[in-house]
Every structure is written in C-alpha cells, then in structure tokens.
C-alpha cells in the first residue's frame, strides 16, 4: 500500500465555516492526509514582514508564514491546498499571492479554493484527487507516447466520449449525450470500437475520467481511473504537440470550467469553477436552444455577429438568459446575441478563473466548447493571444485517458 499523500492546508475560515470536516473527508477519500505546517507563533510576524503583504487577519498571517515555511523547505509536503472564505477580499488577495509565490518558488502542486458553508467533500474531491495524482503518478504523467491498443472514456456532465488509440494514433471515436451514465458510455465505446474495427477483447488497457469515472471505471474494469484535471492537461499538451515547457489549458465544460497552468504536461496550479456554473457550456447550450440552432451552429453564427451590440454580462445563468431574451425582443440579431453569449462566457472565465493561474503561452482550449469558434475567438480577444485548439479537442479527456492507460500495458 502506498503511503498517504501529505497535503499542507493553508487556510482562513474553514473551521468557523463548518467545512473543515469536508476538507478532511475529501482528502481521506483519495488516501491523502491534511496537515497544518507547524509554525512558531514568534515566527509569524517575521514571515509576514519578509513576505511584504501587510494583512490584518491573524489567520491570513499564519497562511503566509506557513507558505514561506513550505517554500523554504522547513516543512515537507506533497501538495498544497489553499482555502479561504468566498467573498472575503483580504483573503482573496492573500490566496492569490500565496498561490503565485509557491508556484514560482517551488515544485509543489497547488490548488486554491474559496468556500462557503455549503462546500461539500464532493465538491473538493476532484481537486484533492488531482493533488494526489500529481504526487503519486509523476512517472505516469511523464508519458508522452501511447503504445499498444488502449481505450479512454470520459464520462462528462453533458456528454460521454470514447476514444480508441493504437500505436500513438486515434483510430476510433464515439460521442453520446450523457443520460444514463453506463448506457451512454456503452454507446460511445461501441461507436469508437466500430470505427476502429476492433472489439473489446482487442483493448489492452482502459482509462476512465470525468464525473462518472468511478462508475464506468468499475463497469469496464478500467486499469486507470483518474480525475479530469491531470488527464485533460496531459491530453491537451499531447494533442497540441507541446509536451515540454509551460502551457495553459482552458476547458469550459458543461457544468464547470477548468483553468490549468501546466509544466511539462503536469498541472502546477489549477482552478475549477465550483460556486457557480453561470459561465459554463450549459449557458451556451441554452443560448443555442433559444436561438433555435444546434450547438454546433452556435460558433459560426457568433462569428457573424457583434457581441458589443448586446448587453450581456450577468454572472448568473438565469439572468444571462433573461438578457438574451430581452435582446431578441428588442430586435437584436441572432448573430449578435450568439456573439454576446460567447463573449459573456469567455469574460466570466477570464475574470473568475484565469486570474487565479499564471497564463503562459500556448493557451490551449479543449473540450466540446472549444469547437464553438465564437467562444475561442472571444477568449483570444480577451487574452490577446492566438488560442490553440488541437485536433480531436472535444475528446481531450478520453485521449488523455487512453494515453495514460498505455502505461499499464507495460506494467503487466
């Protein structure tokens, strides 16, 4: 049995928010242990002075002192969890600066999160699992080539994707809306196998990811069941042909968004939307439905419009839809509304998530929404860079899973 992954918690407010138990539970479920770096009270003010951020809250000072102790190697850890109360400005400044400081001055993977009293261990699970994956599976994550015949299945909140790979090539793909998790996965797998001209017996290793990864992983007898943060990072740099060096991966999903700062294919810092899903792909689905077009037609439609002509900047999916309805009622064109919807989602991801990681080029957009060219264009405008959308970007999780699963063939 492998040793527990030690995750250092730097936080302000989790106990009085009633969520400390949820953090413990999330860590426990991925065989990790939370610990609080042991700091001498006398060292706290000294560390804060040296860091140079003059904060008032004692727990934020403690966070800074603990962060410095980790970077200076006075305390050993495998990963860092930074958590502060949602809506606290002072804490947000410390959380962000501390995350940046640790990222720039150590090799420790960091995840930051702002919680409310409603935060559950389930919400934290994927983030905590990613920290442990990075700590435990560095060798596997270093894999740059797919070998043998493997399959990856990504059971997402909106769609289920399957990919069959053979000798570093994608030979089969399948895509189905997620309805019944196992049935949708079975359908996607059947399509991918048919396209590849192979049967289940030909598959040498299987990897699963996405929200339904545990259920379908058990169903298919998967060799690798892994969260989507590390899998998508790997898949993104693999498909973009940029496996070495820095990159930024943006995945606007059906229910949440991921922004990942990657070094050599391994996440350094990452955020996942959690409190609100107002800027997710779901809003674009609703927009397409209201405009009476298929989601695949939304991107080209948006490219013909001018988003600036339609006011749409709500953080809320309901109010965003209301803006959309009002704009159409006031005579705005469908093209302009489509462009505004794309800009609105890109802007929210930019404001809420991309500020929490370090943007380094190339910026790679993946997932089903990366096929909506209006959204990619809007993101490129905001970041003032050319966004890379690799081939098969919608299958990113499945490709990453198939690639990593091939590590288990050699392990036999």
């Amino acid at each position: 049995m492998s040793r527990k992954v030690r995750v250092a918690q730097l936080s302000c407010g989790p106990e009085y928010s009633g969520v400390q138990k949820e953090i413990y539970d999330a860590a426990e479920s991925v065989d990790a242990e939370i610990f609080f770096p042991d700091i001498a009270l006398a060292d706290v003010e000294r560390a804060v002075d040296a860091f140079g951020l003059d904060v008032r809250s004692a727990d934020l000072k403690l966070m800074i002192a603990r962060g410095k102790a980790l970077v200076e190697g006075k305390v050993d850890a495998d990963g860092v969890f930074i958590g502060t109360c949602f809506r606290c400005a002072e804490a947000a400044i410390v959380r962000n600066e501390l995350r940046r400081y640790i990222h720039e001055n150590s090799r420790l993977p960091v995840v930051s999160y702002s919680f409310t009293e409603r935060t559950t261990s389930g919400t934290l699970l994927t983030r905590m699992e990613a920290l442990t994956t990075i700590a435990r599976r560095r060798a596997l994550l270093a894999r740059e080539e797919q070998t043998g015949i493997t399959m990856g299945v990504d059971s997402g909140s909106s769609t289920t994707k399957a990919v069959v790979m053979k000798d570093n090539e994608i030979v089969g793909t399948g895509w189905h809306p997620t309805t019944e998790v196992i049935k949708s996965a079975e359908s996607a797998v059947a399509d991918a196998l048919e396209m590849a001209g192979l049967t289940r017996e030909d598959i040498q290793a299987i990897g699963t990811t996405g929200y339904g990864r545990f259920l379908i992983g058990k169903h298919f007898g998967a060799d690798l069941i892994q969260e989507e943060l590390t899998v998508n990072s790997k898949g993104a740099v693999y498909l973009a042909g940029h496996q070495q060096g820095s990159a930024t991966v943006i995945d606007i999903g059906g229910m949440d968004n991921k922004a990942i700062s990657v070094i050599d294919g391994i996440p350094g810092t990452f955020t996942m939307g959690g409190i609100c899903a107002g800027a997710s792909g779901r809003f674009l689905e609703m927009t397409a439905k209201r405009l009476g077009v298929d989601i695949t037609e939304l991107g080209p439609l948006a490219m013909k419009g001018m988003g600036k002509n339609v006011p749409m900047n709500s953080y809320c999916i309901v109010f965003g839809t209301q803006s959309l309805v009002n704009a159409l009622a006031a005579g705005s064109s469908r093209e302009d509304v489509a462009a505004a919807a794309c800009h609105s989602v890109a802007e929210q991801v930019f404001e809420q998530q991309l500020q929490e990681i370090d943007i380094k080029e190339p910026v790679i957009m993946v997932g089903g929404t990366s096929l909506i060219e209006g959204l990619v264009y809007a993101m490129g405008q905001l970041l003032q860079t050319e966004i890379v959308v690799p081939p098969h970007s919608q299958y990113i999780g499945a490709v990453g899973s198939a690639l990593l699963a091939s590590g288990f063939i050699e392990g036999e």
């Binding site: 918690q9 936080s11 302000c12 407010g13 989790p14 106990e15 009085y16 928010s17 009633g18 969520v19 400390q20 138990k21 609080f36 042991d38 700091i39 001498a40 009270l41 006398a42 706290v44 003010e45 904060v55 008032r56 809250s57 004692a58 727990d59 934020l60 403690l62 109360c85 949602f86 809506r87 606290c88 002072e90 804490a91 919680f115 409310t116 009293e117 409603r118």
Partner: protein, 150 residues
Amino acid sequence: MAKVFIYPATSLILSDLVARFGHKPLGAALGIRERIQTAGVDSPPLQITPEEPKRGLKYAAVEVPSGVRGRMAIYGPLIEEAEAAVIVTDADLAFGCMGCARTDELILFSLRQSGIPILELTYPSTEEEGVQFVAAIKKFLDGLEKGGEA
C-alpha cells in the same frame, strides 16, 4: 457580578483578570500556543457545523464571508448577554487573538452599539504601561459592582 465580554475573546489573561475581580468573563478563553499546529490561531475546540454560519445570519448578511458568520454565531449571543466589555486593541498574538480581522471589526462595532459600559485599552508595550493597564482594568471592574454601572 456582571457579565463582561472580553476582547480579544481568546485572551486567557483577560478572562482570568475579569474572574479574579469578581465578574463573569464572556469569551472563548482559548489558549494561544507557542507553536500553531491547528488550522487557525483561534481554532475552536469542537467541530463547528455548516449550521453555525446560517445562525450567524442574525448578525451579518449572507454576502458576509461564512467564516465571519460562523464566528458571529458564537460571539453574537455573548455580546447580547454582556453587561460590560473590556477591549484591548493592538494586542500581541500571544496575548490572545482572533483569526479574522473582519469579525473583529464587527464584534467591536456591535459592542460599541450595544450601549454597555466599555473599557478600551491599547496593549501595553512597557512594564510601566503594563501596571497601568491592569490598574485601569481593576478600576473599571470594581465600578461594575453595583448593577453593572461603570
């Protein structure tokens, strides 16, 4: 005997002084340790549940961070119960401290709004100031003997 809210609420020294001079201290009276191995400097001894921040809505609106509301669920009722308060500002961390500055602001404001007698002191930095500090607290507490009036 008056019920005296102490600030910092975690100060064992203040708690002891109030009790020593014949009153009931209202606070958390947590020991601040030389080494901190817990989540925060004023980590509660018992698990607080997500219900506390909801109870804290009585004292702070929903847009106020959950950590503030969770603390107010504990300190708010004590402030309501208090008949007097001793406030020490700019205290050394070891004297007693609260983890969240925003909660501090709300606690101090709530105390000042309550109309109860309050003694506000700055944390002493010399021995002489220390003697005056204790003397001022004694005088204030002695004055509370009759029906809580200072």
